[in-house]
């Protein structure tokens, strides 16, 4: 089966490593995904707060485009995934929204008939490919690598049906299939602050600090994320966050831990041949950890 790949804006900016590794995984799992023709910004969570109606129309354009291709959409970015799903629901539930959207689409010669499914890579990998098939393709098992699986908010909450909203496990199972050790991580769905870091820094920092200290306390070597914004927040502000440690107990270990996309770890294990999986784009280098675990990395 063929998928319409919807990168979303972040994967063309701070989240490039996500796209690179994702495509690598697609290739090694032989998943046929073609980029959605002339996709546009989904409106993200920002747009919703200024002009709800318009944001649905924006998202709907992408839905309609995919529908025309008769393909499921794969949306790796948490925000995109949520917005696209939400749009589908609200068009279903609210006649007014439906009218607005369909008129707007007609104006640009498109039509939305609610025939498209919005999927997340986690969902596709686990349910369409399957843990067994993936494990079979692993060439470089991530032996002894302790991973804290961080799902964040908008993948499982509130609309995802492919996993438990309170205690999701899809990523855990995928990474275990790759030979990694997934550590218990109580904050796996606690928010990272989203765009707050940009707007209300002190707030963002506190949340980031919580998440990282907890991961380190549980002995994680690396945090795996499914969302470009989470990855950005957790990786780029570790130093600032350490500065904020208010409690002697935690001041012992300053924050420093690699934060990767789960697809980077998968690509690594699947030994994606001769392609970049964006490791070099990390600000906190992963190489030392891998070296320590004797996991070969070209």
């Amino acid at each position: 089966m063929k998928y319409a790949y919807y990168p979303g804006c972040s994967l063309r900016g701070t989240g490039r490593a996500y796209e690179e590794s994702l495509l690598a995984v697609f290739r090694s799992l032989e998943i046929e995904a073609q980029e959605l023709d002339d996709w546009n910004c989904c409106g993200a969570t920002t747009y919703l707060s200024v002009d709800e109606l318009t944001s649905y129309a924006l998202a709907a354009r992408n839905l309609a485009l995919a529908e025309r291709e008769r393909m499921d959409i794969i949306a790796p970015c948490a925000a995109c995934y949520l917005v696209l799903n939400k749009t589908q629901r609200y068009i279903r539930d609210y006649p007014d929204i439906k009218t607005v959207v369909s008129r707007a689409l007609t104006a640009i010669g498109l039509e939305y008939r609610d025939r498209v499914r919005v999927r997340h890579p986690l969902d596709v990998f686990l349910n369409d490919i399957g843990v067994k098939a993936i494990a079979a393709k692993v060439v470089k098992p991530l032996k002894g690598l302790k991973v804290a699986p961080y799902y964040g908010c908008q993948i499982v909450r509130p609309y995802a049906t492919f996993d438990d909203q309170r205690n999701p496990t899809t990523m855990d199972r995928l990474l275990e299939a790759c030979g990694a050790t997934v550590i218990p991580y109580t904050l796996k769905t606690r928010c990272c602050g989203g765009s707050q870091k940009g707007t209300l820094p002190e707030v963002g920092l506190d949340l980031i600090r919580y998440l990282i200290t907890e991961a380190q306390k549980n002995g994680a070597d690396v945090i795996a994320t499914v969302c470009p914004l989470c990855q950005f927040n957790l990786e780029c502000f570790q130093k600032e966050a350490s500065g904020q440690l208010r409690d002697a107990q935690f001041r012992r270990d300053p924050l420093s831990i690699p934060v990767l996309y789960f697809t980077q770890l998968m690509a690594l294990a699947l030994g994606a041949p001769g392609v970049t999986i964006g490791m070099e784009r990390s600000l906190v280098p992963i190489e030392p950890v891998l070296a320590a675990k004797e996991i070969a990395y070209a």
Binding site: R166, N167, T186, L187, Y210, E214, D247, A248, Q249, F250
Partner: protein
């Protein structure tokens, strides 16, 4: 005196003289429906001789009014437009009966439940009332005088469920001289109450008040106690039910076992290995066991799942030796089916407590020191796994305990309803924990609900004792520390809604006050006894206020928590009521069955036999000699399925004859 109106046309030729009576029901009907206009309209309908409206038709003066008219205008048909026939049809039938009219020459029109109460538009509601009355007048004209059938009642009663409700009902009935079959699924009676330590608000010990009743049940000459048994099949009808009961093998011959428990001591297992059901897995039991010391009957049970003899057939059978010449142990025992005939049934199947694991954020099953309220009842109980010591799994005493209310209650994600008893039992647990451990005790509640005798006073007492009350629904219980001071504790995260900020409260022990749910097999039981369930799955009473223990199936009564969350006093009260209803039925000696049976006009029957397979009660037979079908009136329950199916239209149903229904249909539609 309400005004009278003589309709111009009066009797409609064929001697039919109808009186129409429109009830105001105070403002219940008159508030929405223009009753004057309606009765005026009725007066003009062909066949109507007199039409009146009155404040309360069901009142004595109201009934007198009808009876007087019946004589004065010599009416031979009556239409009463008031509430649902299920409420007052009997009343008015009696009324016209006393006036010398056959009770079945009455037709009721439901203009309250089906009209005034459900519509806002007065015009539309009034129009609807007129339509319905017109139809009733046309229908009643065709009514024929009918007689109710009288069937004798079997004086025995079946009580299902041996919790406090079932026990109380059984005793009440037995004391009144009825023979009772008490069927309990578990190996002992006692139900949930037997697991409790103290009872609120008086704090008297549950065992002390329950066990005497249990032993009386066990020894009562008029009670047949079948534990470890389940009802499989129910047939028949009010006064004459036939019930099939499955008796599971306990591999002990009950009559021979003395309950000396020597077999238990002798068992080849030196220590128990199986989680003890009665202690909710907080302790272990052997394959041969007595559920708990005061169990009734005092007969041990052998669990074939864990008994070596059943696994390998090579056990030393030290238990058999211990039992000696009594020879009460029988490994070959098979399950048996018993058939009993009873006149009435009391269902007291109780409730099941909410599975705390369903709320992932409270960490039940993930953190060892998160308990359910029922588990804590066992911890506190002197006969429990810790001998009444309130200790954590590591044997330490908790310094701080958090009691989380409304777990699985008042929550659209699990159960919407309020479980009614949790606030009070949480207070009780809070008191006992405080008293025995001196720990800091926190109650996290949404609303404190303490309606009941002495309940609010008990709440005051707890406030005195310095127990903390934080108003807010707990969001999560986690072991994740945000401060070093929280390390190694369970942290409860909650908004203190009265202080209006979020708090993190570290404790050693968390008690989840789980709500009450319908039994897992409530639906199956309901089907078996042909009664209804509320949308939540509780057994449905016939009327929420006026028939709280009756069901829509005559002769089947409900008591205790199977009808909805209830505390002990309420359950007992209801059990008494149910028992009384059953007695009232039995002592009336005869049931009167509605005469709505089907009958065949032989000459019209073509003998096609198509009706015969349709009847679920095998009431229809085929008279070979006459080549005609025949209906056994005693077996017929009057559903009318065969009537609707008869190709030659030779089957008719009393009170629901085709013509009568056609008149009604055409009546409601034929508006001017």
């Amino acid at each position: 005196m309400p005004e009278t109106r003589n309709s111009g046309n009066g009797s409609n030729g064929n001697g039919i003289r109808v009186g129409v009576y429109v009830c105001h029901c105070g403002t219940n009907i008159a508030g929405t429906i223009d009753v004057k206009a309606v009765s005026e309209y009725a007066a003009g309908v062909p066949g109507v001789v007199v039409s009146r409206d009155y404040k309360y038709m069901c009142s004595d003066p109201g009934q007198a009014l009808i009876q007087q008219d019946v004589r004065e205008y010599d009416l031979n048909r009556v239409v009463v437009a008031s509430c649902s026939p299920l409420l007052h049809e009997p009343t008015f039938r009696r009324a016209i009966d006393r006036a010398g009219l056959n009770p079945f020459l009455l037709q009721m029109v439901n203009i309250r439940e089906h009209d005034s109460w459900v519509h806002l538009d007065k015009q539309a509601a009034t129009a609807k009332a007129k339509d319905l009355i017109r139809a009733a007048v046309r229908r009643v004209a065709l009514h024929k005088p009918l007689q109710k059938r009288r069937v004798p009642i079997n004086p025995n009663v079946l009580v299902v469920g041996g919790g406090i409700a079932g026990i109380h009902a059984a005793l009440t009935l037995a004391e009144a001289g009825k023979h009772v079959y008490l069927v309990e699924r578990e190996p002992t009676i006692g139900g949930h109450m037997a697991k409790f330590d103290k009872t609120f608000p008086t704090l008297d010990c549950a065992a002390c008040i329950l066990t005497p009743k249990m032993t009386t049940v066990g020894s009562h000459p008029r009670i047949t106690l079948w534990t470890y048994s389940e009802v499989m099949k129910v047939s028949g009808y009010v006064g004459n039910y036939r019930v099939q009961v499955k008796r599971k093998p306990r591999y002990i011959i009950e009559d021979l076992c003395l309950g000396c428990q020597e077999c238990i001591t002798a068992c080849v297992y030196k220590e128990g290995k199986t989680p003890d059901e009665f202690n909710l897995g907080l302790s272990k039991r052997k394959p041969v066991y007595l559920p708990f010391p005061q169990a009734v009957p005092q007969k041990v049970v052998i669990d074939p799942e864990t008994c070596i003899e059943f696994k390998s057939r090579k056990c030393k059978k030290t238990c058999v030796e211990a039992c000696g010449e009594r020879q009460a142990i029988d490994f070959t025992q098979k399950e048996t089916l018993e058939e009993i005939d009873v006149g009435a049934v009391v269902l007291a199947t109780g409730f099941r407590s909410f599975d705390a694991a369903r709320n992932a954020y409270y960490g039940y099953g993930r953190y060892r020191n998160v308990y359910t309220s029922l588990e804590v009842e066992r911890l506190i109980n002197a006969a429990g796994p810790t001998g009444g010591e309130i200790v954590l799994r590591d044997g330490k005493r908790p310094q701080a305990v958090g009691i989380v209310h409304c777990v699985g209650s008042r929550d659209a994600n699990t159960n919407r309803w309020c479980s009614k008893v949790c606030c009070m039992y949480s207070l009780k647990l809070a008191h006992l924990i405080k008293e025995r451990t001196g720990a800091e005790v926190y109650n996290f509640y949404i609303d404190m609900r303490t309606p009941g005798k002495g309940y609010e006073e008990f709440y005051d007492r707890l406030l005195d004792e310095g127990v903390h009350f934080v108003r807010g629904r707990v969001a999560e219980v986690s072991d994740w520390a945000a401060r070093s001071s929280e390390e190694g504790k369970l942290i409860i995260r909650v908004e203190d809604t009265l202080a209006a900020f979020v708090r993190r409260i570290p404790v050693d022990m968390v008690v989840l006050s789980v709500g009450l749910e319908p039994q897992a097999d409530a639906q199956a039981v309901r089907r078996m006894f042909n009664i209804s369930c509320s949308s939540e799955g509780w057994f449905l009473e016939r009327h929420p206020k006026l028939a709280p223990v009756s069901t829509f199936t005559e002769g089947v009564y409900i008591a205790g928590a199977c009808q909805g969350p209830k505390d002990i006093p309420d359950s007992v009260a209801q059990a008494g009521a149910a028992a009384a209803e059953a007695m009232a039925l039995i002592d009336s000696q005869f049931v009167e069955l509605e005469p709505y049976t089907a009958f065949i006009t032989e000459e019209e029957c073509s003998g096609c036999k198509s009706c015969i397979p349709l009847c679920p009660y095998q009431a229809i037979s085929f008279a070979e000699e006459k080549k005609r079908a025949a209906i056994n009136e005693v077996l017929c329950k009057g559903c009318g399925t065969c009537v609707a199916a008869c190709p030659s239209g030779s089957i008719h149903q009393n009170f629901f004859e085709d013509e009568e229904i056609f008149e009604e249909i055409e009546g409601v539609l034929a508006y001017a």
